[in-house]
Point group: C2
Amino acid sequence: MLKHYLLTPGPTPVPSEALLAMAKPIIHHRTPQFKEVLKQAVESLRYMFQTKNDVFIFASSGTGAMESSVSNLLSAGDKALVIRGGKFGERFAEICQSYGVIPINIDVEWGEAVDPLQVEKILNENKDIKAVYATLCETSTAVVSDIKAIGEIVSKTDAVLVVDVISSLGSVVFKTDDWKVDVAIGGSQKGLMVPPGLAFITVSAKAMKMVESSTLPKYYFSYKAAKKSVDKDDTPWTPAVSLIIGLVEALKMIKEETLEGALLRQKRMAEATRSAAKALGLELLAPLAASDAVTAIKLPDKIDGVKLVKTMRDIYGVGIAGGQAQLKGKIIRIASMGFMTQWDTIVAISCLEIVLKQMGYDVEFGSGIKAAEEVFSK
Amino acid sequence: MLKHYLLTPGPTPVPSEALLAMAKPIIHHRTPQFKEVLKQAVESLRYMFQTKNDVFIFASSGTGAMESSVSNLLSAGDKALVIRGGKFGERFAEICQSYGVIPINIDVEWGEAVDPLQVEKILNENKDIKAVYATLCETSTAVVSDIKAIGEIVSKTDAVLVVDVISSLGSVVFKTDDWKVDVAIGGSQKGLMVPPGLAFITVSAKAMKMVESSTLPKYYFSYKAAKKSVDKDDTPWTPAVSLIIGLVEALKMIKEETLEGALLRQKRMAEATRSAAKALGLELLAPLAASDAVTAIKLPDKIDGVKLVKTMRDIYGVGIAGGQAQLKGKIIRIASMGFMTQWDTIVAISCLEIVLKQMGYDVEFGSGIKAAEEVFSK
């Protein structure tokens, strides 16, 4: 009998409170009952994003919402600064290119964070940059960037700051308004503890002004249509009713724990994971900019990461993620996001110890766990 | 105690088999387990669409998939023929305009079906039309169009035929390949008995060729990206895992009933609804082109349709839909789609009789039910 533990950086486990709420008979979306649900969802999302701005909910995965931040804000020929330090930063640049927007890329070594001064320098040299695309937690490398510093810089210019917080919302400290972020993009299946299928966008007044002059085509993801509807506790198109009902339940749990409490819980899990990795003689991919939502651990050359992940999942029931693109087979990624506690971390580390040893890596059983327990008992 | 009956034309009731499957612990989307789910979903959708073409699954509502059929097939300045006989036909024209595609509209009286000969005439007069946008069941008017005849006409030209079957897939006879439909667009929350949040697209070889030359921007809804992934039982972006799991369960039920059986069940419900309306002295909005997925019934002038719908829902627990746009307050729409049986129809008609009488309309109790029972006992 396999009992499954999911420690992937999305989807993350969904609490039964949300699962059971979604299993109730469906309700129609144009009813007072659902309007109330939608209102609660938007209010709770404002709390998660720490914003007073409008929040729009799309039935889509995060990528659709990322695209919307190009198609709604910019016009063909516009320049955008894109910070590329992994797969998701690269995605912003690809979207820009699809829309005829000219990306000026800052290419950051995978595993490192962007230097905010570099952002400042490029913005100074290119006064016509309309938008800066950044990633709070780059899921592919487990790097966290200093969005607060970047927000300070961008806010002094005419450009808007767009931040992908899909894998970090609710898991890593993030303050939309305090950090002067114009557009923040979240998803349901990470720190918010809901199945994939919902994306969220928060849009500042400065960004909404840019929407007025954007000439790129959009329809489904139109911020104007979304804004018109959200003011009436409504959506322009049929919303993903059950997922939004699940979201309300999940966010109720986070509000009870408090966002601060949830962030601390996940931070401790990440610290324990990092500490255990080091104790096992493994290096972190991002030692200087480690995210608290997910930890990327480099594997010794002789260990096949694909096989390691597969063994942990299929033989032991412990789901973690491998590396993507050029990191495939070379790293593993263990999440500390959403509906996970220290015992999930303990299980993952114990399983890692056992499988690494089986694969021929020299492990002293319990040494990773010891390091983790020391963190947890602090 | 209110016990809820949902007879709206989407969302429709979700069978507990699907609800409970979606309530199981979430699985990661890049696993052999989920690949198998996705493969089954695509195979079952092929059966529902009656096609051998590729089927793509998007995390979005139907509108997103409608948009994709413009952005993936056409280029700015292209001409498209749009059949507008209701809110959803109009939506195609709006999307075309958003993308700089020139819509040539056939405006059909709300409640009537397009004359296929008119389509032929306009195609003959405009050899440069690249695509024809049609609606099988126009949800706002409950009209069904003769897509088979239109398919015959369009297939003789260089244009492609795009059909919105969102509210009719699985509820009204539709044969993608036999009827020479190039692109058909479905949604999860109607005849397929799953919550909203999934859209489906089937794309013919002729349409895939147009994708090659389309210059409109797209990313999230890119058919090229979808095609590349579906060939590997994968999706380009994080899919709506739980909804797809629910879809597989729901389609399993339809396959057991057989598509033919499901269509007949819904047709009988629609016939009974129409027959009951007539017995109650009410007129159909679309007497000559009535859809078997939903029935639109005109209300006498003195009956406020908004109040009628509200009373049925909030006092009696019976959810039906009112009219949209210019039909607001003037009609009611009772669905016969998805996970509904003749007893749902009986409940709706009985409730309609009681509430109409309360509102001052002259009803002989049981007269609508009698007509319905006669249909059901045939």
